[in-house]
Structures are given as C-alpha cells and as structure tokens.
Symmetry: C2
Subunit: 273 residues, 2 copies
C-alpha cells in the first residue's frame, strides 16, 4: 500500500475509540493501543478521541478507558451527547430522548416535557416499536419537525457480532417524516470541526484513524482529512474493496499506524539535520 | 377542483381498502362505501381492491370486509403476501419473516430454515430491536443480500392515531446494508400492473382511489393512472398542499368519487343518445 499519506506533515490525529482502543464486548484494550497513545504523548503529537459512543456518559467512558490502562483527560474526548446537550440548552429545546438508559444522566437537568424535538442515540434494545413510533408521532405533530441524531453509523461490533446502529433508526424516522436529521456525531463536518478546532489545526493537517469505513474514513476524507482504516473493531475484509470509500491507508491496528507515523517522522528529522 | 379527471374514459378502478372501505381500528364500514361498491357492480364498472394490508391473511381480510357488509370475492383482492409467496416458491427462496404473527399462516408451508432472503411486512409491535437486528445480520451474511418488502408505506391510521408503517423499517434495513429492497406492494409498478392486468386494462384507463398521498396517489400517477385522494383514513389536510404529489382529484370519500363517476357517465350517455 502507498505511503503517500505519510508524505504530507501530520500535525494531529483524531482517534476513534470503540474498535480502535478496545473491542466492544471485550473488557480489555486492543493489543498495542495503550502503548501507542503513550508514544504519541511522548512525541508531542496532539490528538483527540472522536467517538460516536452514545450508550454511556463521557465520564463513564473515560472511567472505562482508564480501567483498560489508558491515561486520558475528559477534555480530550469529543462525544455526541455533550454536543447535543449544548445545542439543546443554547436553542432552548425540550427533547424526546430515544436513547440508551445509561446516557440519561447527561440530560438529567434538561426539561423534557412537551417535547419540541427528537434526539436519537444508540438505544439498542430500547428501540422498541412503541418508542420509535412515539418519536415518529411527535415529529409528525411538530410544525417544524426537528430530528437530532448522534451519528449515522450503520452497525458496530458487539462481542463477536456486528449489530444494527442508530443510523438505521435515524434513516427510518427520516423516511417516515420526509425530514432530514441534524447529525451531531461523525461523519457530520461541524462535529469533526469541533475536534479539529480544539487542536487549533486544519483538516488537511489531520489524520483520522477508525474502524468505520463510512463514518470514520469516508467522513474524514470528505472534509480533506486523511482517513485510515484499522483491521480491528468492526472492520470487515470487504471494506478493502468498498465501492466508494478508498482509505488513505489500511493498517493492522492503532499501534501499526503510530509506528509508521513515528518512524517516518524520525527519518524525516534525521534527513533534516 | 377541476373535473378533468372525469373527461377521459374510466374503464376500471383500483380501490385501496384500509381508510377507503373502513377506518383502521373502527369496526364499521366508512359511510357510503358499501353502497358505492354495489353501485359500481350494478353499473358494470370493473374494479380490484389493491391493498398493502399485511397484518392478516387475504382470507381473514375478506371475512372482515364481509362482516362490514361488503360483497366481494377473494380473487378481487390484490395483496402483497400472496405475491411474495408466489415469488418465494418460484425462486426457491427461504425467507426470514419479519412480519405480523397473524400473517404467518400465508407462509406456513414455505421452508424457513437457513434463510437466504428477508421478508418485511407490517410487524408493528413485533419490530423489536432483536428482530430487526436479526434481519440486518442475515442480510449482511448473504453474498447477494435479498430484502423483500410488502410496501413502502410511511404510516397508517390505527384508531385515531397515525402510526409508523413498514416502509420506515424497510428504509432502516436498506440504509444499514447498502441495499435496495424489492417492493412487493404499492407503489411498485409491477405490483400495480398485476391488478391492472387482471382487468385486461391499461394504466391510462384506470383510476386509483386511496388515502395514501404517496403510495396510492403518487404511485398511481407515476405509471399514468389517475390518482384520487379521499378525505378518509390517514388523510391529513396538509396532503392537499403536498410538495411533490398533486392528486387528480380530492374527494370526500369513496361514495363521493363513485357518485361523480356515475353522474358524469350518465350525462355522457344521455348526450350520446
């Protein structure tokens, strides 16, 4: 595979969490990933964790990663729920929350009576017909229906299985109500920009590393980041022949990507001196 | 409203059932509809009942309509399930059935082991996350995923409420699997043609009467039938200003449409003689 992605300077990284730092359903880090994060810090390469995880609060996610051996600060995590929370407060919105129960604390102090918008997270088993139908009916009753979704992921890995993600239910509600969702998560450009801005960088300086060929790799490339696909998480061999998305590189895992970046940097620094 | 739709000869009718013959959730016929059907027969105007009802077998649907006072034969009803059944047998397909339990008898003798296709009906409360996820996983595991859906309706009326229809779940599975469903129901052209062919007519000779602005009216117009919207069933006042679909006429109910057709025919016959 071409090393072209290394030739232009890499000033920062965006790192997906699930499938890159740990496998969903397995309670350990992916081999080499804890060390890879340490090496990025040692070498002064800035990065942000850019996740579409919406089954738990950011606090809970950070605690989980620390249990796996990661050293990180909550401020380094860009997750959809705080972004949605910010939007709800700013626009004085009262949501009907079609989300996973463990995420509810993130919205505990937000008025949810007499809903004037619908918020979709990865509700998983809680995507019952009655809950989805209620979201549909509320949208239908609104003069200007507002559907906010914490991503458009098609599926993710849970244990050894690929399972349906929130994007499918977002698409269902969009179809039934003739309405486009506002996406507050990957692959939305505004969402990626929040992460990139927080490092004071430009998209073309940044490499996104993830296991989702669409939201991570395709989403990054659509806004002029480089997009790397890892062969961990929900990666499937067929992703390597995806009809529309061609990753800038496919790496075995995060450690592989970080190795290549640091090796290339060392060689470049040597030839500079 | 223009009477232009009456000017070209009407050689036959397609009639939606739910919302035209009876209101879903109410156990009586819509006022005037039983008599309207009788008058069509008396006047020798051929028609077919063209429904997307997939919560019960055709036998059960015919029995229900007879209880409401309708005289009809099973052969006059064009419903998705028998069409899907025919396709499954002809193509030797083994379905995973994401359908309402009351419809299962229609497929009782079809091998459902080791599924090589997914069939979606209006499963309503049985659209659990686990059932939809299983359909998703099966499609993902197939070399050539085959998703068959008994329509693409967005919503229908149940009692006094509009509720989410199978089209939303079809859209969800299409999105998650990057695959287009084969639609065996309105508004699929092949499906409408089955009904039109059974009367030995051409689309331009036929008027479709229904309460679904998209599948009934829009679907009919897309294949050069005339499409009439009734103000019963799931009709909403906002349908009269639909952004893309403009019905050839909007009538109060089936009786209103039949009155207009028979009156116009009587006048035309008188002026002929």
């Amino acid at each position: 595979m071409s090393k072209k992605w290394l030739e232009k300077q890499i000033k920062g990284l965006l790192l997906d969490i699930t499938g890159v730092l740990y496998e969903s359903g397995c309670d350990t880090a992916i081999a080499g990933s804890v060390d890879a994060i340490k090496r990025l810090r040692q070498n002064g390469i800035p990065f942000r964790f850019c996740t579409n995880e919406t089954q738990r609060t950011t606090d809970s996610l950070v605690s989980k990663l620390r249990r796996f051996g990661y050293e990180l600060d909550k401020s380094e995590v860009i997750a959809p729920a705080p972004a949605v929370r910010h939007m709800l407060i700013k626009q004085n919105l009262r949501p009907y929350l079609l989300i996973y129960p463990e995420l509810m604390p993130e919205f505990a102090d937000i008025d949810q009576s007499n809903a004037n918008c619908v918020v979709v997270g990865d509700a998983a088993q809680h995507f019952t017909y009655d809950a989805v139908n209620k979201a549909f009916q509320l949208l239908l009753s609104m003069k200007d229906p507002l559907l906010i979704s914490m991503g458009k992921g098609k599926y993710y890995k849970e244990g050894n299985e690929l399972v349906l993600d929130l994007g499918a239910y977002t698409a269902a509600l969009e179809y039934a109500t003739d309405n486009k969702a506002v996406i507050m998560g990957k692959p939305a450009k505004e969402y990626y920009m929040t992460a990139i801005d927080s490092m004071n960088l430009k998209p073309e300086d940044v490499v996104m590393i993830g296991d989702d060929i669409n939201s991570d790799v395709g989403g990054a490339q659509q806004m002029d980041m480089r997009g790397l696909l890892v062969r961990t998480g929900k990666y499937r061999p067929s992703d390597e022949n995806h009809t529309t998305v061609k990753p800038d590189a496919i790496v075995n895992n995060l450690a592989d990507a970080v190795n290549q970046i640091l090796t290339h940097r060392a060689i470049a620094n040597n030839s500079d001196s």
